[in-house]
Symmetry: C3
């Protein structure tokens, strides 16, 4: 429970309106009641601002004139929301596993002799920690999670229910691994022989920096000889696949359903949107954005935004246009002939 | 074991052939033996009809003349198959976990003090039910499944082995959650700051209606402030990702490997084919079909079918055409110039 | 520890350099030290060859002249790496679950009465084996894995932590199922009715041949009436979805994030690259390659390579070209008119 003035102080924001307003929660514009704050960061929701019952709204100063409530003025309302969401998360101190974190090894946890679990760490029922694993101070190993041989879970990490750290995986301080993520699985390395596929044994591990987030059902394979590396501050969404030997630079964000084949290198501060595919053995420099469902088939050496695919249309016209795509080479030649100019097959 | 006449009666279908035929099973046209029924719902398999050894075949009346066996005549043979498949499923009453459902809490299950598990529910070995969870009458929590804090599993739900309900997830009556689905995971909400990515704590839950099916390894994130909502009768295939704050309307079907970014709204009675991507903050109206691997990049306000992408070709001509795609803007301008007509960059 | 001559003999390779060199490990060109061997199979890494500190390098004879170290000469260096990786994997004999395989049923494993677990098999803590399951000699059921009713795990199979074999799944000799793979889940079979979707009960199973590899978080649905079939020597990467009733031919390779809808048939010795989608009820013949993120929308009857999609560009020109894609039908008609030739809508 805060007064508006106290809350503004906590968040480091200026405010308009009654300093004594009582604030007890955080809610969306549509759901907020008279003791809630809310936020506006996307203009799409301006109409919801008009009718909100919130006590106060976090928003950019430009929208204060049209806001019917008290205002918390933020240059970046979405960033201010991050701070506010932490204030109002009753389980912010429990790794988000509300409120089930009990320090120590629970009955029903399977911690092998030889495992090192810090006295201030938590291992829940059904979790398995293998003999040569290390779980450091403040780390939470939730129900059914698996911490394999030679793994190291750094201080204050949270490994959510069912997540698997296969072997030779190290997590730096403050990482979060969501449910059913699998880290350190065997890479897809096979050589063709006359008898079929011969497995390349994967002898490396996965080395993960600090404050890395790894989404639910995301898979990160261990390296073949060296380690797969995820640098500090990387955030990875659900259902992402990262192949063996990849290297992801600091603070890069990878959205859901994206897949990186083996030995790809992604720079720092990149953003890969959802459903992107990256072929193997390419290198993407720092500060690259790749739009949704793009296929990255070559290295990118210049910062900027990259895309592939076509735009959504109604299916009937799309079909007619898609047929013509198969005639493009012919169309281009015929057009050049009509113009009486030389034809060329590279981009202009 | 049924006679053909009894079976026709159970299924509410007319039949041709010997009413006393003995039917003991259901099999495909190719595998069926002389005591099995089979079905035909896709013309592709008409040649298999000719040679089937089945006793009788469920099919549309139009194919009865060419059917070499007794017929069960159905306006919608695939729908009739649904009824028949239930009749011949020995484990239809066991949540499909054949035949392992034992009412009560099994030895080796971890049910926290304070959890409410109905006396007619089943919790299997290795499953975890947290202290504030509720499991209602007839629900089955299979081996290794996790039911988190403040979750509610409605009557007659089946949560398959290894599925995770993270926290604040409610399932209505008769839902099925397949193995390793993760519901209620933290949404991918981060704000950029000078220090890197700041987490938006996800304070909402997931509210799921009645008779919803959720496929294996599918992930549904909890809402940021409000709940993520899946309405009654929605069916979701494997490996689907549904972002935080999404709202899926009743009876919509979502096929495998599809991903919805956060805050997207999908209407009722829609069908999203496999591998579709939907960007965030868009709205799709009722009765929309999206074809496979389409990227939905804007709201859809008119029922119909929508597509993107190109058609599959052999790689060699595809490469030549794909190069020309990068020249399309130039080609369009040159073509307009040749015609002496104004050029425009919007669709015709 | 080997001498170079011994190692060459083990690998069946000719060598150049000092036969008495001591070799104790295998590492990448960049990381190798003076007692390691390394390998070169991709020309991209030729510059790393120049500066490697390795004792010897496995490479093609053509690169021996530019190699600064002793050489192990291989016609197929990647295949030679497979053999070398096995030699230097300390846990090659433990199913890769280093070094945690203990024969027998561990304390904390849940093996139902009636399950048949061979005395030389291993079942780890937290694993569940149901009453009618069979686990054969040398098989490893890792922590938290689930072996359902009527499943058969063949000799020397490894089922990694958390993998689920739902029911009616049989694995031939020497298969590997990676973490959180789900095999035998219910297929996505529903018939539309006036009341919504009616479930087609899935009565089949999954029949998997010998030496099949199934990646982490991959899902393979059981058949509707017949079995889903994966033949000998198939290798499947992470996050792949294989629908009910599919049939995958021997030695086919399927890369990550690929999805096959139901009832699709893929021949032998095919390679599906990452992110490919295959619609239902199509048939792909033997020896087909499909490039990354292609959508296979029809049967393929001729061996070769197939593709769809467009090439990656910078987003600004891509947007202009993508707008023109929607004008392709119009452009083609106008071009034909300018040429005074008949227009046609099929490929040339």
């Amino acid at each position: 429970m805060y007064s508006l003035a106290e809350l503004a102080d906590h968040l480091g924001l200026a405010f308009t309106g009654d300093a004594q307003l009582t604030i007890s929660g955080l809610a969306s514009l549509r759901s907020a009641g008279p003791q809630d704050i809310s936020f506006l960061s996307n203009k799409k929701y301006l109409t919801q601002l008009q009718s909100t019952a919130a006590a106060a709204v976090i928003l950019s100063p430009e929208f204060a004139p049209v806001c019917p409530t008290a205002c918390l003025l933020a240059d970046d309302p979405y960033l201010a929301l991050a701070s506010a969401s932490r204030l109002f998360d009753p389980f912010a101190g429990c790794g988000g596993i509300a409120p089930g974190v009990v320090i120590g090894v629970a009955a029903g946890a399977h911690v092998a002799a030889g495992a090192h679990v810090h006295s201030q760490a938590a291992v829940a029922a059904g979790a398995v920690v293998e003999a040569t694993a290390v779980v450091e101070c403040g780390a939470v190993i939730a129900a059914g999670a698996y911490i394999g041989h030679r793994c190291k879970v750094g201080p204050d990490c949270v490994v959510h229910p069912g997540a698997v750290l296969h072997s030779n995986v190290s997590l730096g301080r403050g990482c979060v691994v969501h449910s059913h993520a699998v880290i350190g699985s065997e890479g897809f390395g096979f050589a063709r022989s006359a008898r079929g596929w011969e497995k390349i044994h994967q002898l490396g591990g996965v080395r993960i920096g600090e404050r890395v987030e790894i989404g639910a059902c995301t898979t990160i394979d261990r390296g073949t000889l060296d380690d797969t590396v995820i640098e500090d501050g990387v955030i990875i969404d659900n259902q992402v696949q990262i192949g063996h030997n990849c290297h992801i630079g600091a603070n890069t964000a990878i959205a859901g359903c994206t897949g990186l084949a083996g030995s790809s290198i992604v720079g720092a501060n990149c953003t890969l949107a959802g459903g992107v595919g990256v072929v193997g053995h390419v290198e993407i420099c720092d500060n690259v954005h790749v739009t949704g469902m793009t296929m990255v088939t070559r290295s990118i050496t210049r910062p900027g935004s990259y895309s592939s695919g076509t735009r959504m249309e109604e299916t009937a016209p799309w079909k007619r246009n898609a047929v013509r795509f198969s005639q493009l080479e012919s169309m281009a030649r015929r057009l050049a002939a009509l113009q009486g100019r030389p034809d060329h097959t590279t981009e202009e």
